[in-house]
Amino acid sequence: MNPSVPGSTKREQWLEALISYALLGLSVIFALLPVAWILSTSLKTEAEALSLPIHWIPQRPTLGAYVEMWTLKPFGTYFLNSILVSGVTALISTVLGALAGYGFSRFSFRGKTSLLAFFLATQMISGVLVIGPYFQILAAVELYNTLTGLIIAYVTICLPFAAWMSKGYFDSIPKEMDEAGLVDGASRFQIFYRIVMPIAVPGTVSTLLFGFLLAWQDLLWALCLISTDEKRTVTLGVAFTVGEFIIKWPMLTAASLIGSLPTIILYLFLQRFYVEGLARGAVKG
């Protein structure tokens, strides 16, 4: 972190800022170009979306798709479902993943590398093959066509990633912090959530985002598991705009954009903790 490191000259800082802005400017173009097209399409009528010649700026912009998505299709319900499922998935997988990551990071025990390997290996079997048997389990416990069944699946897919990511972040926090806590008489668990977790906040942010997005964007599991409209997620709703004969381009694009908003809002909210975590890291030690 260089902004106010003593010693670097004003010129160096200025040059760095310039390069950074140039790179960021390029990244904005790279990231947003497809999004611009998505936005443009969402403001067109279905007829205009497919017409020739191609216009990046809609000739007759309309918010029709944005209105239709709530009235023609119950995207409100879809949103509630998605937020619920994604939020719970993110929380549970982050917590359990952090616990596991801490265990991997701080302790050595027999079979640790094998367990690490096992965690990762569980994700190597193609989801396609896991779905059928998983649904057999669900049907047996009457969790078919429920959001709970979906959440359990998503959490299980996220866990290994959350654990690995957490381990990485915990590894970069010196063990001396833990030792200090031990000397003060804290239990391992208290050290975990009072000392280490707060510093690992930026890592936790990544894990939360990952879990949230994985659950939000999944199509295959939700498609096979949910069969009624009231349980449907936003991504399913978007996928259903692609029918056998018609693709409702404006609604597809509008719903995707609105569907991105919760993650953006989540990131905005979690961002604040970045700064705090940073400051804390700088103050300690």
């Binding site: 990762l120 396609v128 972040y169 970069s172 199509l219 995707s256």
Partner: protein
């Protein structure tokens, strides 16, 4: 630290790992077992003993071999792209510049678009007749052919898919690396400053080492993740032209859900898992050793 370890010390690690392990075992072991069993079942039904026939078939299947090679290329290029873009942006975003929050949000957006949507949009955008990319290029280069083919072109199809995948996937690596950068204590940079290290040396000797674990983990996770990616490829090209962009996950999907040959698909998936596991061994060992 040097003192003898109690039972508690030696086993407490297990307690932290236990809840996650329990979930994984409960939910995934049964399906994994079924998959294994399926891959050894002769086609057309169980009850006739186990057979390695599907694996035999797999080794003689020319399409499968080609698909493996495609997948390696796909994953390798995607990883390179993700790491390059992700690291560059993470470094740029790690500064306290005005507008930082805006840039961070914008950089995140590609990740928030679901695979399926990204695939459909890119496919349409690259369409020679109805796509928006060709007209856009012509604004800058008027001599560019009007109905230029991207996904129908045998040479350009794969790069197009990879580029779309890089666009979609770099934010994960970026966010992970950014968090990793934030964890590097300022004192290390300050100490290097005092020692007279310039920007490049600070980067090589402070930043990279500090990030090394995270980079390894990001690569390992991304690798597994990209091996599984299929919605993007499926919607963009369906594996075409011909079998040029067929990857393992789309092939398994097709073999299972379209050809209805569950047994063969299981064998393919098991083979894929084994290969993937072997590829990730270096990561597992390296990460496991880090303390």
């Amino acid at each position: 630290m040097a003192s003898g370890r109690t039972w508690h010390d030696r086993h407490i690690g297990y307690f932290f790992i236990f809840p996650a392990t329990l979930m994984l075992v409960a939910v995934l072991v049964f399906p994994a077992f079924i998959t294994m069993k399926l891959s050894l079942t002769p086609e057309g039904g169980s009850g006739r003993g186990l057979t390695l026939g599907h694996y035999q078939k797999a080794f003689q299947d020319p399409v499968l071999l080609k698909t493996f090679l495609n997948t390696f290329a796909f994953v390798a290029w995607s990883l390179v792209g993700h790491l390059t873009v992700g690291l560059t942006l993470a470094l740029a975003l790690n500064q306290a510049l005005p507008g930082q929050t805006f840039f961070r949000l914008v950089a995140l957006i590609p990740w928030t678009i679901p695979d399926v949507v990204a695939g459909i949009i890119f496919r349409w955008a690259l369409n020679p007749i109805f796509g928006c990319i060709n007209p856009l290029i012509r604004v800058v280069f008027p001599s560019f052919p009007a109905e230029f083919q991207w996904l129908s072109n045998p040479t350009l199809a794969f790069p197009s898919v990879i580029l779309a995948n890089i666009w979609r996937g770099y934010p994960l690596v970026m966010v992970m690396l950014l968090a990793g950068l934030m964890a590097i204590p300022r004192q290390l940079y300050e100490a290097a400053e005092v020692d007279g290290a310039g920007r490049m040396r600070r980067f090589w000797h402070v930043t990279l080492p500090g990030l090394s674990t995270i980079i390894l983990i990001a690569l390992a996770l991304d690798m597994v993740w990209e091996f599984r990616r299929f919605a993007l490829v499926l919607t963009m090209t369906g594996g075409g032209p011909g079998t040029l962009t067929e990857v393992l996950s789309t092939l398994v999907y097709k073999t299972y859900f379209q050809f209805f040959t569950f047994e063969y698909a299981s064998a393919m998936a098991i083979l894929m898992s084994i290969v993937l596991f072997l590829l990730s061994m270096p990561y597992i060992i390296l990460v496991g050793r880090k303390q």
